[in-house]
């Protein structure tokens, strides 16, 4: 058998693992890898304009498809630019492999040109990492990295690849199986724990399901729907899980937490049994822990044992894969008699829907979201971080898993445009809508270029309030309206800017122009369309549970 370079082995190994796209930025210490990709078949390099964008694109691809996203950058600054993207994927448990070129092995540790200790820098923000110093190791490392990234609680794995190992030749042999003795994720829930959980479910008077991104990651949404519908238990789905249970279903209480529905938050406060599935009792969901679900027993299904009883003590922990555990529970459960509780839930829902006040002839941001939902109900929404993210979560009704993509855990501004690019590559037949903010859009605006180059029919809708809006809202409420460093009235004209890049750019300033512009965007399919919606500048996101307050103390709006 002939030998081939470490770089070629990397590409062949990734192909064996089913990788179709690599999102990357070229640079000195990664040049042999890019060279190997230059004429590789069956795998494509998508050049991005900044490494952060490359990482988010790989992440968006993974979130939209459930497959492992792959990103590639050079050493030093290329690698450090990836870090935000790796940390973003880590916080949301996204399967990703990040490959970085590294300086020659004999230079490692010498403060060589464009050297950084990538393994050291990324250690706290990735699931695992490898340094490849020999071309002999490449295939095994890739196989292990793909396995670790995609199994158990998924997450990003970093492969730091020394340049001489990219050049040196070895025999290519991709391992049939990966067997890591120290890594055996527990996927099946303990039957006795499952039986205990079912007993609690059958005896509860005010039970509720609380599902998170873990259900989506385990592809367990069918099982989740079956559990809710079979038992008749109402369900709230977190920001990371939106679409895991259809928000159009009568059992849906919509999203919980800081900007969640009053219904879901009141339900937590009054419930006697919380069944958490693939959710981690994040502080943005629970509010003040002392006041969180004080009367409820808790069942927690999670594949990561360290998530259980981390924030909230749990009565029945079940470590396992959500899909498998739910399937086992579904065999045992029956309908529960909870009519008075359901009447209460329905009353809250009726009384406190997500709503807003129209202010004069202003374009209200929530109105724009409602119209997007009306015109594109089946689209995949990729939101950024801030007020528009919350409005997109509240006013669009998600019915399918992976329909809402956003950086929930790390809250990374600039995530959405590159993530939308990755999502569009992963799902070429879906309508991908990027709902962005004026602050977040500018953070990774350079990624409009590959979107144009690849003629991606992305719909980029900017909810432009000329402020770093979420921070401004907090300043209004908690800092005496001292608007420090949030005034973005010096924004450029995003429509003209889009045109300068070579995309279709529209600007909407009047309510009556919102729908026609959205309709017009529908017809643009040979490249991205950017619509700059100039919305009411000081609209706030409500309901709101102030930091430190209990979920029962939700502010429904300002009088």
């Amino acid at each position: 058998m002939a030998t081939t370079s470490g770089a070629n082995i990397l590409i062949e190994s990734l192909k064996h693992a089913g990788v179709e796209y690599i999102f990357g930025v070229n640079g000195g210490a990664a040049m042999p890898i890019f060279d190997a990709l230059y004429d590789a078949e069956g795998i494509s390099l998508i050049p991005m304009r900044h490494e952060q964008g490359a990482a988010h694109a790989a992440d968006g691809y993974a979130r939209a498809t459930g497959k492992v996203g792959v990103t590639l950058a050079t050493s030093g600054p290329g690698a450090t630019n990836l870090v935000t993207g790796i940390a973003t994927a880590f916080m949301d448990s996204i399967p990703m492999v990040a490959i970085t070129g590294q300086v020659y092995t004999h230079l490692i540790g010498n403060d060589a040109f464009q050297e950084s200790d990538v393994i050291g820098v990324t250690r706290p923000v990735c699931k695992h990492s490898y340094l490849i110093k020999s071309s002999d190791e490449v295939a095994d490392v890739v196989a292990s990295a793909m396995h670790i990234a995609s199994t158990g609680r998924p997450g990003p794995v970093v492969i730091d690849f020394a340049k001489d190992a990219q050049i040196h030749e070895s025999l290519f042999h991709y391992p049939e199986q990966v067997n890591i003795r120290s890594y055996k994720p527990k996927v099946d829930g303990h039957p006795r724990q499952i039986a205990k959980a079912v007993e609690l479910i059958h005896n509860a008077e005010r039970p509720m399901l609380y599902a998170g991104g873990g259900v989506v990651l385990s592809n367990g949404c069918e099982e989740l729907r079956e559990l809710a519908i079979k038992t008749g238990i109402p369900i709230t789905v977190t920001l990371m899980g939106l679409g895991a249970f259809p928000e159009t279903h009568p059992l849906s209480m919509q999203m919980p937490g800081m900007h969640g529905s009053c219904c879901a938050n009141y339900a937590f406060t009054d419930s006697d049994l919380v069944i958490a599935v693939g959710a981690r009792f994040d502080d943005r969901v629970t509010g003040n822990l002392d006041k969180f679900a004080p009367n409820a027993k808790k069942i927690h299904i999670d594949i990561d044992a360290s998530c259980i009883s981390k924030n909230v003590p749990v009565d029945v922990p079940i470590v396992g894969d959500a899909k498998r555990v739910l399937a086992e529970m579904n065999k045992l459960v029956h309908r529960v008699e909870i009519e008075p509780w359901m009447r209460q839930i329905d009353e809250w829902k009726e009384k406190y829907p997500f709503e807003y006040q129209q202010k004069g002839d202003k374009v209200m941001p929530q109105y724009v979201i409602e119209q997007i939902y009306d015109i594109y109900p089946d689209a995949t929404i990729v939101a950024d971080v801030g007020q528009h993210q919350m409005w997109a979560a509240q006013h669009f009704k998600y019915t399918e898993p992976r329909q809402f993509i956003n950086s929930g855990g790390l809250g990374t501004m600039g995530f959405s445009l590159p993530a939308a690019i990755g999502a569009q590559f992963g799902c070429p037949d879906k309508t991908i809508i990027n709902i962005n903010g004026d602050g977040s859009y500018i953070m990774t605006i350079q990624e409009l270029i590959p979107a144009i180059t690849y003629k991606l029919p992305l719909k980029i809708f900017i909810i432009n309030n000329m402020y770093l809006g979420m921070v401004r809202q907090w300043q209004e409420l908690f800092h005496n309206k001292r608007y420090a460093a949030v005034d973005y009235h010096d924004n450029p004209d995003f429509a003209l800017l889009a045109q300068a890049f070579g995309a279709t750019g529209l600007r909407v300033e009047r309510v009556e122009d919102v729908r026609p512009a959205l309709e017009k965007a529908k017809g643009v399919d040979d490249g991205p369309v950017v619509i700059d919606f100039i919305v009411d500048e000081e609209e706030n996101v409500f309901p709101m549970v102030p930091a430190g307050a209990g979920l029962g103390d939700v502010i429904r709006g300002l009088a």
Binding site: K127, S129, I180, S306
Partner: protein, 163 residues
């Protein structure tokens, strides 16, 4: 919640970077390591760490779970809850004028220690034992003037059985 000392026995892959992953787990969460000892086992591919730490029950549970979560960690045991033996070795360099040597050597004898180095003004003494014994030995030698004191950190293993 009350703080407790715990001893973790951790078998890990003998690879570069493992120690950093383990110590990073502690530093990243603001947990303290009281002592940490690493050494090869009988199988050169596997290293053993003995980690002594303290915290309330919730912190100890998190440490246990996060150690298990590390990809390179093969097995974690909280020895505090198991029947185990623990030892630590200390090297004490104590000021010892010729006329005091006899007294010091008697103390060393009592603690079944050994003299590993001698020169005209100092003795270097090795004592092995559990925490209480080492503390007692150090307290007895302190009045003579301790010039240097180096400890291995605790090592521990479960009694009986196999790992």
């Amino acid at each position: 919640m009350a703080e407790e000392r715990h001893i973790f026995s951790v078998f890990v892959e003998n690879r570069f970077g493992v120690l950093a992953r383990v110590s990073g787990l502690f530093s990243g969460r603001g947990y303290n390591i009281d002592s940490l000892n690493v050494g090869e086992t009988d199988d050169p591919q596997i290293s053993h760490m003995t980690i002594v730490t303290h915290g309330d029950a919730q912190i100890i549970e998190q440490i246990y779970k996060h150690l298990n979560k590390l990809i390179d960690v093969i097995k974690v045991t909280d020895l505090t809850t198991e029947n185990h033996v623990e030892r630590e070795l200390v090297l004490i360099k104590v000021h010892a004028e010729p006329q005091k040597r006899g007294e010091i050597l008697q103390i060393v004898e009592i603690f079944r220690g050994r003299t590993v180095d001698v020169n005209p003004t100092t003795l270097t003494i090795e004592v092995t034992g559990d925490e209480g014994k080492l503390r007692a030995a150090i307290d007895m030698l302190r009045p003579y003037g301790i010039r240097d004191l180096v400890r291995t950190g605790k090592i521990a293993t479960m009694r009986g059985g196999v790992r």
